[in-house]
Structure formats: structure tokens, C-alpha cells
């Protein structure tokens, strides 16, 4: 009915059609003194408005840079009501303006008698915006985007965030709201190693963007060592705490540092995989902080600095590293483009660029917080294998199957360990064919020496192959035994079986035989004793000679 009356009133007043009347609001005065004449003119104008009571000094600070100067902040008022955000800043020396800047409204005509009382405003703010009023309503003149000015109440409310809300002082309608959280999530973008543009969950802080994920449940931060090996060692050893300047940062949230882009994105994706596939909340299932370090050394530094390849052609998880033993991951940057590893004939690029490598390292953290498989001999190989398995699972979860870059396959690290010398191959391990990467695919040919902690990176090929066979099926090249896999469409079943067994059922000193029993039990628990997953798991362990 209110609208009807308004319409009738409008109609009754019309005798000829009027163009839509856009209420011409106050124009904004941009006070910019770029010359001495400008400065005098604007200072004179501001002083006049000051004398008229339209501008009032609300704060005076000592100029921190130039002695003897005072920085005055003047607030615009209209009939005693502050005009929201309308201020002039005057830097003055002994009362004489040296610079002056401001954005204020030209003289206003809006009435300043609110229809709503302060109590009404409180009620409206709570009704429209949230449950808690953090800051009491204040009557203000609100310059609107369209140029008009509105008499409004402004308050700060808490509801799914903290917001400053403006409501019309006449009718209570909400006019404007914005978040009062100064540091907030900001979705950025960046191009990764494989040329793919990724979204990045960053934080906006102090005028820049930092690699601090505010959208996922845990603290998930990527620290940029900026090729400062000393800083890297100090942080890894926990000698010094992280400084805000250690966090990877970018000015415009369009990130160009490949390591920062891929490390931050891939670790976030891996967290997502664990949550969506297995309902797990991060490393310890209680959202333990996830700390990632990058850029310890440049590719060029890898061949010129007397350092271990640990920090250039490697990625690792260290459960006790970092300030306070927070646990950290580190991703090396590889070697220059015209270099290759003598041992494999491969060039190595930023390791964080491989999703399976990132997931592999984070999974070490999961293992550390769960079964804590001892990193030696068979339990160590199981530890490594579980990281390979989950690395592969994460690839298949986010990437399309294929043999190209950024595609899902059963190779480990194929995106960053790249064939360079003729005859060399991509990647460092294969779950489909361990023999091709000098790993055993059968228990009878397992490594029994003491190197590599008893072959943790070697014998992992055996359980790795079990995972592959249980999904894809096929024959073991050594035994010739055939496995009926569950099929790629059902890979989720085998992933869940391995997750259940390796996270919950295995003891820290598990052997391959224990792993066989635990995964079969997990398959039975999840899908039944006569289920296809249980049969596939059983057949696969038998095929690799583990009974």
C-alpha cells in the first residue's frame, strides 16, 4: 500500500513525463596541492571550512620523518554530523601548510534529523546484519556511490565475520556493508611450472598479499627463503622464529614465482584431497599447521654453492624441523636448464611443480602423526610407499589421466624430473613398472643392503606395485601372476583401503607381511570379505610375493 500511495502521489504530480530524476548529490572535492599556488588556495579553502565548523581537527600527529612538522587530520561535518570518510590531512610546519590532501563533499543540503532513534538503529542493525553489535551505532552522513548523500547509522556487527554496516536513518534499510577484518583472505592467481594458471588462497596484509591460506581450516603458510641458505638452516633447526617477512609475498596477487605458486596450491589441494576423500583434517587430523619452505637456493646456486643436493634437487618433510618443532616441508628449485644429473640423465626443475611430489611430502607428515612408520628397512619402505601412493592418488583426484605434463599417471615426479640425456626417462619411480626405475616389483628381488636406510626408496616399489595392480589389474612382471583389479573407476576403494591400513592399522615397525594383512583387513572392513577390493588386494600382495 505504501508503494501504491507513492505511485499515486507521483502520478498526481506529473503532468508531463519526467526523465528519471537522479538526485544530484554532493560532488566530491579532491584536494590535491601540486604547486605552491594550489597549496595556498586549498589551505585557504580548508581554513575557511574549518572556521565554519565544517572541518574539525580530530587528530594531530608528530611527523615521524621531518622534525618540526605536525600532521593534522581534519574530519568533515555537516550540521554536526560527521561525513563518513571525508577527511583532509594537512602537514604543517609551525602552522604553515606544507602539503594538503583530502577528499571531502561539497557543501551538503541533506537534513540531519534522523527518523530512527539510536535504539531503533541498534535493532535494525541486529535484525539485518548479525547477532552481536560490536560497536554502537553512530549517526553519519554517508556519501553514496551514485553521488547522493544519505543520513545513516553506522555500526559494527559480528555475523559470519565482522562487518561495518550502514542503515538508512529514516527507514532502516541497509545501505552499505564491508568487512572490518583488516587481514582477510584474498584469492589470487599464479602460473605454475606447467603453464597452468591456478587459484591461490592468500591473505591481504599491510598492502600486499602473503602466502597465508585463510580459507582452509589449518594454518597453511608458504615461506620464501629468498635464496638465503643461512636463514633456511636457522629456521629448519628452530634457531629463530619465523618473521612476517619470511612469508612469500606478492604486490598484486598475480603471482609469478613458480615455486610459491605450486607449493602453496599443491599443498592446499593435498589437504583438500585428504579432507574430501578420507574426511581427514590435515596432518594430524586436528589441523596441525602446515609449513612449507621454498627457494632455499636458486638453480644456479645448486651448481655453484658448496651445498648438499638436499636443498636443490630434493623435497622433504621434517617432522621435528622448524621453530618450535612445528614440522616443515621443503621444496628445492632444481638445477639450471642446461644441466642434468649424471646418475639419471635428467634435468630437474622446481619440485613443488609436481603435484604428486607435494602430496608425497605432506603424506609423510600424515604418517608421522599416525602410524609413524619407522624410516628404516621394510617399515621405512612402507612409509615411502604410502607417500608415493597418496601422491599418485592426489594426482588422479585433481588431474586428468594422461602422459603429459600436469596429467595423472603412475609415475612419481615426472613433471619435474625431466628426461634430458638421450635414453633417460621422466620421473623417479613407477607404480606400474618399478623395474623400469631400478626398484623391485617382487619380494624375492627386494633390496637387502643397508644403503638408503635399508632401501626405503628402493623396496617401496613392491607395495607401490600392489596399489597399482589392485586398481588397474594385470600381471606382475616377475611372478607372472595376474590380478583382477577393481578398475580405474573404483580407484577410490583402493585408496581408502590403503589409507585405513597405513594410517590406522599398521604399527610403527610394520613389515610388508603386516601391511598385506592390514590392507586385506581394511578392505574387508570397508567393503566386505568377499568384495572385489578385498580380492584385488589379496591377489596383488600374492602377485608381488608377499604373504
Amino acid at each position: 500500500m505504501k508503494r501504491l500511495i507513492a505511485s499515486v502521489a507521483a502520478a498526481a504530480l506529473l503532468v508531463v513525463p519526467l526523465e528519471r530524476g537522479s538526485a544530484q548529490g554532493p560532488s566530491t572535492l579532491q584536494i590535491r596541492a601540486t604547486s605552491l599556488d594550489d597549496l595556498r588556495r586549498w589551505d585557504s579553502y580548508v581554513s575557511a571550512r574549518e572556521r565554519a565548523g565544517e572541518l574539525k581537527i580530530v587528530r594531530v600527529d608528530r611527523d615521524p620523518s621531518i622534525a618540526g612538522r605536525a600532521i593534522e587530520r581534519l574530519q568533515q561535518y555537516h550540521q554536526g554530523v560527521p561525513v563518513w570518510g571525508a577527511q583532509v590531512v594537512r602537514d604543517a610546519s609551525s602552522g604553515v601548510a606544507e602539503s594538503i590532501f583530502g577528499e571531502i563533499s561539497a557543501p551538503l543540503t541533506i537534513a540531519t534529523d534522523p527518523v530512527l532513534s539510536l535504539n531503533d538503529a541498534r535493532t535494525h542493525l541486529l535484525d539485518s546484519a548479525g547477532a552481536t553489535l560490536l560497536r554502537q551505532p553512530q549517526l553519519v552522513v554517508l556519501p553514496m556511490a551514485g553521488g547522493e548523500a544519505r543520513l545513516a547509522y553506522s555500526g559494527v556487527v559480528s555475523s559470519d565475520g565482522v562487518f561495518r554496516v550502514f542503515i538508512d536513518a529514516k527507514g532502516g534499510a541497509e545501505l552499505l556493508r564491508y568487512s572490518e577484518i583488516q587481514t582477510q583472505s584474498a584469492v589470487g592467481t599464479g602460473v605454475g611450472l606447467n603453464g597452468d594458471t591456478k587459484k591461490l588462497s592468500m591473505a591481504q596484509q599491510a598492502g600486499q598479499y602473503v602466502a597465508d591460506d585463510r580459507l582452509r581450516p589449518p594454518s597453511l603458510t608458504t615461506y620464501d627463503m629468498r635464496a638465503d641458505l643461512g636463514r633456511l638452516f636457522s629456521l629448519l633447526n628452530g634457531f629463530v622464529p619465523f618473521a612476517p617477512s619470511d612469508v612469500a609475498s606478492d604486490a598484486d596477487n598475480v603471482w609469478t614465482d613458480v615455486s610459491a605458486v605450486d607449493a602453496h596450491a599443491h599443498i592446499g589441494w593435498t589437504y583438500d584431497y585428504y579432507f574430501k576423500r578420507h574426511g581427514r583434517h590435515g596432518l594430524d587430523d586436528h589441523d596441525r599447521p602446515i609449513v612449507t619452505l621454498i627457494n632455499g637456493v636458486t638453480p644456479e646456486g645448486a651448481v655453484t654453492l658448496p651445498i648438499s643436493s638436499q636443498y636443490s634437487i630434493n623435497a622433504f618433510w621434517c617432522d621435528a624441523c622448524g621453530p618450535g618443532g612445528v614440522g616443515t616441508m621443503y621444496f628445492g628449485n632444481g638445477i639450471p636448464a642446461n644441466y642434468y644429473l649424471v646418475s639419471s640423465g635428467q634435468n630437474v626443475v622446481q619440485l613443488a611443480g609436481a603435484l604428486d611430489v607435494a602430496a608425497h611430502e605432506l603424506t609423510h607428515g600424515v604418517t608421522s602423526s599416525s602410524s609413524n612408520l619407522i624410516y628404516l628397512n621394510e617399515s621405512g619402505a612402507l612409509n615411502e610407499s604410502f607417500s608415493d601412493i597418496m601422491g599418485t592418488a592426489v594426482e588422479f583426484y585433481f588431474q586428468t589421466p594422461g602422459a603429459g605434463r600436469a596429467q595423472a599417471d603412475y609415475l612419481l615426479g615426472e613433471d619435474v624430473f625431466r628426461a634430458f640425456r638421450p635414453g633417460s626417462v621422466n620421473g623417479i619411480r613407477s607404480l606400474e613398472n618399478p623395474l623400469a626405475y631400478n626398484q623391485p616389483d617382487h619380494y624375492s628381488i627386494r633390496f637387502t643392503g643397508r644403503e638408503d636406510n635399508g632401501g626405503v626408496h628402493i623396496n617401496s616399489g613392491i607395495p607401490n606395485h600392489v596399489f597399482y595392480l589392485a586398481i588397474e589389474g594385470g600381471s606382475n612382471r616377475t611372478s607372472g601372476l595376474t590380478v583382477q583389479g577393481v578398475g580405474a573407476a573404483n580407484r577410490e576403494q583402493i585408496e581408502k583401503v590403503f589409507y585405513r591400513a597405513f594410517v590406522f592399522l599398521l604399527p610403527a615397525n610394520a613389515t610388508f607381511s603386516t601391511a598385506r594383512a592390514a590392507t586385506i583387513q581394511a578392505a574387508r572392513d570397508l567393503y566386505g570379505a568377499t568384495s572385489a577390493p578385498a580380492a584385488a588386494i589379496t591377489q596383488a600382495w600374492t602377485a608381488v610375493g608377499v604373504n
Partner: protein, 255 residues
């Protein structure tokens, strides 16, 4: 809407025989004596037009897309007119109408995912109590058909000028929680957009006078036009039809 011209013709057809009978019974034509004819009516206006608005905004490094369909509803109508006889049975006048209605809309859209490209979260949400007000100014040339001294029938037509005040959805608020695969719309932001346009009107009026100057009457009018409302997108416009079949009754005065 298409019934409107037919309705007008029906009224004219009904009025014509009555005029003939009255003329015969009185033994001579009824003369137009009054200079002014004024009326105030309450009634209803039909609805039924539909239009749609879309807008986008940047979100999570992609573009969120919102579409809001609207349908005009029938609602109460208020009208008044003022005529001045200019010659014989012809008069010129002006009438104003005001109409208000409230409608609903099922707003649909997509909000980009914060973590992944090309995985928009779709939503559909209802918004209600969207107000629409139409004001019309109708210039009219009227032909009076005097049936008797106590009853007069007139037909009229002319150009119309409209103003529409329409609530449009201009934004959505939502909640989301990790892993952000869906959004829950919590409220819609609406703004009233106003614009004017032109059209035409035709109709008929019947007045029955209990005294020399005062009576009651009814009128059926079909007024139609189009108005280009500013889109919520901030650029472009959306066309909406205004007016419709308007019927009402009320007081009449002549002098």
C-alpha cells in the same frame, strides 16, 4: 492482455443501444451541458508481463553470474481524471493512475570456487516482496455518448506517460564453508530502479448521476507502454511492459 480491446468494444456495443433507446424515450437528443467531468476510481490492474535481468561481478578471480526473472502481478489501482468539454460531445482531459504490486523471483546464478577455476557453485534462491509501482499520466480525447440525463457513457483514448519503480535484485549474500563446494544464499540485495516511458490508452467510462452534479461510475481502460529500466548490471537496460487492463469504479462529478 489481448482481451483488452475486445472488452472496450463490448462496452461500446452495450452503450450504443442504450443511447438509442434513451433518445427515443426523451423525444429528442440529450445535449451536452456540462463543461467539466471529474472522477475518482479504485480498481485493479492486470499483470502477467515477465522480464529478466542479469548481472555479473568479479569473485574469486572469476566472474559470478546472477539472473533474476520478474513477473508483473495484478494489484490495486487508483485513478482520477479531469475532463474539459471542448466542443459538442467532445472533451479533452487528463487522467492519472497509480498501481502497485508485489512479486517474487527465483534468482539463479553461479559463484566461482575459491580454489579452482571452472568449478562454479550454482544456486537458486527465492526472493519475495519485490515491489513494483506504476504511475501513469494519460492525455485523453473523450467522446461523450449521453444515454440519459442521469447516465452518460464516454469513450476515450490518447497518449500515456508512465513511470515505473521496480525493485531489482542487485546482489546476493551467501555463506560458505570449507571445502566451499556449495554456497547458501542468505539474503538478496535489492534496489528500486525507476524510469519513465510512453505508450497509449483507450477505454470507456460509464457514469450514473443521482443528482445534477454527483454520481458514481466505472471505467475500463487499456493502457500500454514500455519502459527501459536500468539493469542491475549497471550497464544496459531491461525492457518491461507497463500498464495493462485497468478496471475500476468510484465517484463522478460534473459541472
Amino acid at each position: 492482455m489481448r482481451l483488452a480491446p475486445a472488452a472496450v468494444l463490448l462496452i461500446l456495443a452495450a452503450a450504443a443501444p442504450a443511447f438509442a433507446q434513451t433518445t427515443r424515450g426523451a423525444g429528442g437528443p440529450v445535449r451536452a451541458q456540462d463543461r467539466f467531468y471529474i472522477g475518482v476510481d479504485f480498481g485493479v490492474q492486470s499483470g502477467g508481463d515477465s522480464f529478466s535481468d542479469s548481472f555479473t561481478f568479479p569473485e574469486n578471480a572469476e566472474t559470478a553470474r546472477i539472473t533474476a526473472p520478474y513477473e508483473t502481478k495484478s494489484g490495486p489501482l487508483f485513478g482520477m481524471f479531469f475532463d474539459v468539454r471542448v466542443w459538442q460531445y467532445l472533451s479533452a482531459g487528463i487522467s492519472v493512475t497509480g498501481h502497485a504490486s508485489e512479486g517474487d523471483a527465483q534468482v539463479t546464478g553461479t559463484i566461482p570456487h575459491p580454489f579452482f577455476f571452472d568449478r562454479p557453485r550454482s544456486f537458486s534462491a527465492d526472493v519475495s516482496d519485490l515491489s513494483r509501482g506504476e504511475s501513469g499520466v494519460h492525455l485523453q480525447l473523450r467522446a461523450l455518448l449521453p444515454v440519459s440525463r442521469s447516465m452518460q457513457v464516454s469513450v476515450f483514448g490518447g497518449p500515456s506517460f508512465f513511470q515505473v519503480d521496480q525493485d531489482l535484485v542487485t546482489g546476493v549474500r551467501w555463506t560458505e564453508a570449507y571445502p566451499y563446494d556449495s554456497v547458501t544464499i542468505t539474503s538478496m540485495m535489492t534496489e528500486t530502479r525507476s524510469e519513465s516511458g510512453t505508450g497509449f490508452n483507450v477505454g470507456a467510462d460509464v457514469g450514473y448521476f443521482m443528482s445534477r452534479h454527483f454520481g458514481v461510475g466505472g471505467r475500463v481502460q487499456y493502457a500500454s507502454g514500455t519502459v527501459d529500466l536500468p539493469s542491475a548490471s549497471g550497464t544496459g537496460s531491461i525492457e518491461t511492459k507497463v500498464g495493462g487492463l485497468q478496471a475500476g469504479g468510484g465517484l463522478r462529478m460534473r459541472f
